[in-house]
């Protein structure tokens, strides 16, 4: 090292730089990291366009996660401590751009792990993953198949957790007997439709009509809602609609005078929905994604580090932007960090192997690597999931329900509906 410095010549600029770094290192907790000791993590998700609400808040959450981890001394591997840096690429939810992004992140930025939203974009990236051996994560386990060894779904088990909301609703409001459902006709909507159908059937709730699948280009939801409520259902299910659809559908339900129960996978930015409708109308709206200031997240079963503090920091930096994915990518990073430290290495193979050893520390409790029946591979981390309802204008966790317990009782129904919608791993073309 010294010979290198001597060789290159110790200039005034180099001296000042190194002095400043030394001074800063002495003053910062856990900042004894050697210059350049940085692990780069790829963030390959939609940051613009219709699906940006499931990408951008996730990146914002990751930046908070990185700041916290770096301030606490970084990631400790076999050869020292490393800071974390996120490198993002906006894939615009387009498989071709996702392929370009994956290439850039791996070959140019030298990332050790790439997080994706998944869905339509994963097939574009799959050849890149196969060729490079990079470890990828998805929020959509329906991307999993036996051909995707290096793809994991460690945070969100969409859409299977949706069964927990229906199960809770059936138990707490047994008077609700009938339901209708709508969803955008795409890779996100269809497996979710199959899941909700299985959940309603298991709960003994009758579907009054076939699920109404609308085109993703739909902008006018008045006719969609008119048809939905024409049969006078007790429950309207919004499936896994993007927030660009959930908001206008809820608004239409309000304007067309629907008084029944609404259940949805997400209710991102629900404060805006309340502003467009009313607190009364949104009271009891059931969905699956909590605010992290929820007291129920301070229990011993929760593995996410300081959820309340994370939520507070997120809202300080990005007021009004908290959504379903704000914590999910950060939660994946918790698992990745633990696995990398256990393996003593950031190499994709080592981290993947360490991550899948034994139980996984899922955000909402310890969970198992699972999925062979539905996905052909045990690469989804499945355990408990919260059921959330809006009460007096605020999302509150009502219960934690076990997905594997539901599946043990009603798995055949889920498989039946998944098959009917060609969503089983061996049916996906």
């Amino acid at each position: 090292m010294i010979s290198k410095i001597v060789k290159s010549g110790l200039t005034r600029r180099t001296f000042l730089k190194s002095t400043a770094v030394t001074a800063m290192s002495a003053g910062l907790p856990g900042a004894s990291l050697a210059a350049g000791n940085t692990i780069k993590i790829g963030f390959l998700a939609p940051l613009t366009g219709a699906v940006a609400a499931w990408g951008k808040p996730g990146l914002d959450g990751c930046q908070i996660w990185a700041a916290r981890v770096n301030a606490a001394g970084g990631i400790k591997l076999g050869d020292g401590s490393y800071n974390v840096e996120f490198v993002s690429y906006d894939n615009e939810y387009d498989p071709a751009k996702a392929r370009t992004g994956a290439t850039k992140l791996i070959r140019e930025d030298g990332v050790s792990f790439i997080m994706m939203l998944g869905g339509d974009t994963w097939p574009g990236v799959q050849p890149v993953a196969e060729k490079t051996g990079m470890l990828f994560s998805t929020l959509l386990p329906s991307d999993l198949s036996p051909d995707t060894n290096m793809l994991i779904a460690p945070a969100e088990v969409h859409p299977i957790y949706n069964v927990t909301g229906v199960e809770w609703l059936a138990e707490t409001k047994p008077e609700l007997k009938t339901a209708v459902m709508c969803a955008q006709d795409d890779a996100l909507g269809l497996p979710s439709v199959a899941t909700y159908l299985a959940a309603f059937e298991a709960a003994g709730i009758e579907m009054l009509d076939e699920p109404l699948l609308f085109d993703p280009a739909t902008t006018d939801f008045a006719p969609v809602v008119t048809r939905l409520i024409s049969k006078n259902p007790d429950i309207v299910c919004l499936d896994t609609c993007y927030s660009d659809y959930v908001h206008p559908i809820a608004e239409q339900l309000f304007q067309q005078g629907f008084k029944g129960q609404i259940i949805s996978c997400t209710a991102d930015f629900y404060d805006q929905m309340i502003a467009k409708t009313s607190e009364d109308f949104m009271e009891g709206f059931v969905f699956q994604f909590p605010d992290f200031d929820d007291p129920a997240l301070n229990g011993d079963n929760i593995n996410f580090t300081d959820p309340n503090g994370f939520y507070e920091e997120f809202n300080r930096r990005h007021p009004g932007q908290w959504g379903a994915v704000s914590w999910e990518y950060a939660s994946i990073m918790d698992l990745w960090k633990a696995a990398a430290e256990k393996a003593g290495s950031a190499s994709p193979d080592a981290v993947a192997a360490a991550m899948k050893e034994g139980k996984g520390k899922h955000a909402f409790g310890d969970a198992d690597w699972w999925g062979t029946e539905l996905f052909g591979i045990d690469n989804a981390l499945v355990g408990d999931w919260p059921v959330v309802a809006i009460e007096k204008g605020k999302a509150r966790i009502k219960d934690f329900r076990s997905i594997p317990a539901w599946y043990a009782k009603h798995g055949d129904l889920l498989v039946k509906h998944m098959k009917a919608y060609d969503q089983m791993w061996d049916q996906r073309s």
């Binding site: 613009t48 690429y89 392929r99 140019e108 339509d120 097939p123 006709d185 073309s429």
Partner: protein, 326 residues
């Protein structure tokens, strides 16, 4: 400089180009090459005065056809690409029967509706089209070696050379068509349709011919895309991409063969490389939209008008000055 030397220099530059780029820029170069064919084929259609909103759906017809031919029937990839173009042209001929009963604005809306019907069919019929999720695991172009160079089609450079040769050949054909009597008739159908009709030109047949030829080449561009990315879905050929094609054509200009290509190249480089490198990822739609509006306001004849001004000025400067005696 003799013209053939300029062509050789341009060819050498295009061959060397990917080696001066980063990996991700090479990827963008592949998509740019494919889009050049798409927008050039679109211009052929506009020669007859009709602006279709179904062009990217027709590109999708080529992509789906080629993907299904390889996946279901095991057709050799280059053959399926060609057949993808042929099928796209045939579908265009079928669409021409209702569409060419309309003109101008009605044709524009009719073409949009026709395209949406095709897209909805892809979604509705999961077998064979894969529904909303589309088709994945599409066979790539098989690797091969020509002795001094091994074509590994996972690598963007190899696919760029392959797509580049096909696109160059297609552009040459499009150019020849435009300069042929058929191309001149396309112009006549646009600017003097009554006079052309009075001269015995079957206006509708020529419109159909332009539509079919343009669609055939759009189909080939779709096939090139499908076998590179390995997946296609109905969303990949929606109105968003069509807006991009229109923007490339409008910003580049449609008076010349190179105008739309220039628009495609400049705007793609700006959008995918410059704005990303500047860290303006999330502001790209805003900046892109602003550039389009500004170019329409201040450059109504498109980027091609700048080139024309420059070349005219250079020609004027290089012309020998006449002596007063002359």
């Amino acid at each position: 400089m003799p013209k053939f030397l300029i062509w050789i220099a341009a060819l050498a530059a295009l061959v060397a180009l990917p080696h001066g780029l980063s990996f991700s820029q090479q990827e963008i170069l592949v998509f740019l090459t494919i889009n050049v064919l798409l927008v050039a084929s679109y211009r052929l259609l506009t020669l007859t005065g009709e602006w279709s909103l179904a062009h990217v759906v027709i590109m999708g017809v080529g992509a789906y056809s080629s993907a299904l031919l390889t996946k279901k029937l095991g057709v050799y990839v280059p053959v399926s690409m060609l057949l993808g173009g042929v099928i796209a042209a045939l579908i265009a001929v079928l669409l021409s029967f209702p569409l060419f009963r309309m003109k101008g604005f009605y044709f524009l809306i009719g073409s949009f509706a026709a395209g949406e019907i095709i897209r909805l069919l892809w979604k509705r019929f999961r077998d064979p089209f894969g529904g909303a999720k589309g088709i994945k695991g599409i066979d790539p172009m098989p690797d091969f070696s020509i002795g001094f160079y091994k074509f590994d089609f996972f690598e963007p450079t190899s696919y760029y050379y392959f797509a580049g040769v096909i696109v160059a050949f297609c552009l040459w054909i499009l150019w020849r068509i435009e300069k042929s009597p058929v191309g001149l008739t396309f112009h006549a159908v646009h600017w003097q349709d009554k006079l052309a009709q009075a001269s015995g030109v079957n206006v509708r047949a020529y419109r159909t011919l332009a539509f079919a030829i343009a669609s055939g080449f759009a189909g080939i561009s779709g096939a090139l895309l499908a076998h590179y990315v390995g997946t296609i879905n109905p969303t990949a050929f929606d109105i968003d991409l069509m807006v991009f094609v229109l923007t490339w054509a409008i910003v580049g200009g449609t008076a010349t063969f190179y105008g739309p290509i220039l628009g495609c190249v400049v705007l793609t480089v700006l959008n995918e490389i410059v704005l990303r490198e500047l860290g303006l990822e999330q502001m790209r739609p805003l900046v892109y939209g602003a550039i389009m509006i500004l170019s329409i306001l201040f450059l109504p004849s498109g980027l091609e008008s700048i080139v024309q001004k420059l070349t005219k000025r250079r020609a004027a400067e290089s012309a020998p000055e006449r002596s007063p005696a002359e």
